[in-house]
């Protein structure tokens, strides 16, 4: 047994030491996590919709394990279906398009802080990574719409692209409010700030509403499911897709819905933290000493707390996902002009107003960025106010060591 554990340790250290290998392992783990989540989310969607429509929903497959097996059976059915490609389709864009939608939907999971110190890839640009990567599916959907050689698909694809671009702005502005308030782009830092000051979530409440509405449009769920409005466009951009290619689109959609919920939780609802209750519980029930916990040193936090936080994060995300499903199944679909008008004339001004409000509050509040950065392993950022408008780096920097056969710059 000990030998086995040592072997596992050796393997883990080998993986951790090789950055490329580590990235690969992390990516595979994220992919598997995403797939499991999507399996559960699809089953949940079917159950929630059945509940709202006064039905029972799927009960035949799997019994108590139905929440995983039902979706697996669905996936298996799709796998076995014939993979059709219309004769008039534009060949390679038709094949590539599903991946352009699916890969970004999975990539964004790399930056989610699942628990304290559990972040697959802690990027410095953090939330910007999401903003950037989530812009790609618009192209994939437009590609699918074009290459299907079907006018419903083309209309659906163009609608989707227009909708995604329109709602990216309020979404980005809602995220920007959070970034402004906490003074960091790193997901870890944003959650750590909420962990330490749980009341900050109240300030970002309007931003949460804007984020959820824009997020629903971004993942094209009802009432914003115009790109695949079956009463107008058959099935929109994925009309001509069948079998596994359709499953890829389907997977990407559910993955994106869960991610939007998880991101809303991370940015606005405290992420893995439990508004101070977790610390109270640890202190008074488990008799731990939270004052020794340091987010920069993973070993200082007991594993049981990290696991607890992980489940808190999952639970919160699924609650938000459930709210989104609830909205989806009770709302009628909007018209395309209503969707675009709402995005540009109501949601965008509201997001701008909210940004103004939050930056005002941020200016009044004491600077929060200093205690936050203490939780990170990088040197704290001190923005010296005395720098002000003075030019940065006035003195010319030393040039790299010069070659000896070249005259130094400035000498004749």
């Amino acid at each position: 047994m000990d030998a086995l554990r040592n072997l596992a340790h050796i393997i883990w250290y080998f993986i951790a030491a090789h950055e490329v290998l580590r990235s690969f392992v992390v990516a595979v783990c994220s992919l598997v996590f995403m797939l499991v989540i999507v399996l559960i989310a699809i089953w949940m969607e079917r159950k929630v919709s059945a509940d709202i429509q006064n039905r029972i929903g799927p009960i035949r497959t799997g019994g108590l394990l139905g929440f995983v097996l039902q979706s697996m059976a669905d996936a298996l059915k799709l796998l076995l279906k014939e993979d059709l490609r219309p004769a008039g389709a534009d060949k390679w864009p038709f094949v590539v398009a599903p991946y352009l939608v699916f890969v970004p939907a999975f990539l964004v999971y790399l930056i989610l802080p699942f628990s304290a110190t559990w972040v697959p890839q802690d990027l410095k640009i953090g939330i910007l990574f999401y903003s950037a990567v989530s812009a790609v599916p618009a192209l994939g959907i437009a590609m699918a719409g074009w290459s299907s050689n079907n006018k419903w698909s083309l209309l659906g694809g163009l609608r989707a692209a227009a909708q995604l671009i329109s709602y990216e702005l309020p979404l980005g502005l809602a995220i920007l409010a959070v970034v402004l308030l906490y003074g960091t782009l790193e997901m870890k830092g944003i959650v750590a700030a909420q962990w330490q000051h749980w009341w900050m979530d109240l300030i970002t409440l309007p931003a949460l509403l804007i984020f959820l509405v824009a997020g629903m449009a971004e993942v094209s769920r009802a009432p914003f499911d115009l790109p695949e409005a079956e009463s107008e466009l058959v099935a929109g951009f994925n009309t001509e897709y069948s079998g596994m290619r359709f499953a890829t689109f389907f997977l990407a959609e559910f993955s994106a819905s869960f991610f939007i919920s998880a991101l809303a939780v991370t940015l606005f609802v405290g992420g893995w933290s439990l508004w101070g209750v977790d610390i109270w519980f640890a202190q008074h029930v488990l008799h731990m000493d939270p004052s020794t916990w340091n987010l920069a040193a993973p070993a200082s936090i007991p594993f049981i707390m990290k696991a607890f936080w992980f489940f808190v994060f999952l639970a919160k995300s699924f609650v938000v996902l459930w709210i989104l499903m609830w909205l989806k199944w009770t709302m009628p679909r909007l018209r395309i002009d209503q969707v675009l008008n709402f995005g540009w004339k109501i949601l965008l001004p509201a997001a701008l107003l909210n940004l103004l409000l939050v930056s005002g509050i941020g200016a009044v509040l004491p600077r929060l960025s200093k205690p936050l950065t203490a939780t990170q392993d990088v040197a704290p950022i001190h923005i010296d106010d005395s720098v002000g408008l003075a030019p940065v780096a006035q003195t010319p920097p030393p040039l790299p060591p010069l070659r000896d056969d070249v005259p130094a710059p400035g000498t004749p």
Binding site: P93, I125, A135, A142, V392
Partner: protein, 203 residues
Amino acid sequence: MHTILHATVFGVLALATLGGAVKVISTRSIIHAAFWLFPVFAGIAGFYLYLDAQFLAAMQVLIYIGAILVLIVFAVTLTRNATSTDEAQTNGLFIPVLLAALVLVYALGTTVFNHLWPIESNVWLDAVPLSAAVPGVMVTDVSALGLVLLSQYLLPFEIASVLLLAAMVGAIVLARKERTPAATAGVAAVEAAPADVRELSNV
């Protein structure tokens, strides 16, 4: 091992960028040319990541792929009847321009290789160390960029924002459909009609 890794990354990125660019200029279908811009922009974003400019890579993906490329696909779709793939896609200048481009590449290439750079330009380097832009803020931090944008480069920043506003207004004015007299007359006729007729025509 280290060198092989770097060379592989570089090779993949260069292949995506240049291969995509070659397809952009050579493919007959204009929509395919637009799709082939994707590997070019993504490859450039990869180069930015390789060169430690994470923020710029994010901006490259967000703006070039998420906005400009989608806009181009839109434009191609809206003008899709304009050019058929049967006719020639290039004007008569292709051969002379190709020769001129080769001369340009040769001239620029020799200039770059022969220029006396502070560090020799065609040798492998260990990672050039990054340093702080201002005390405590690394040059790769987004906050450092924000700091210079709002101090040293305030004027260009403001001019760029005014330019964006002007471009937005200009694009809306240009792309808006002009109301033809007939259409205006139609609207006026509907508005002048009795209420029950109007209701019918609105259905």
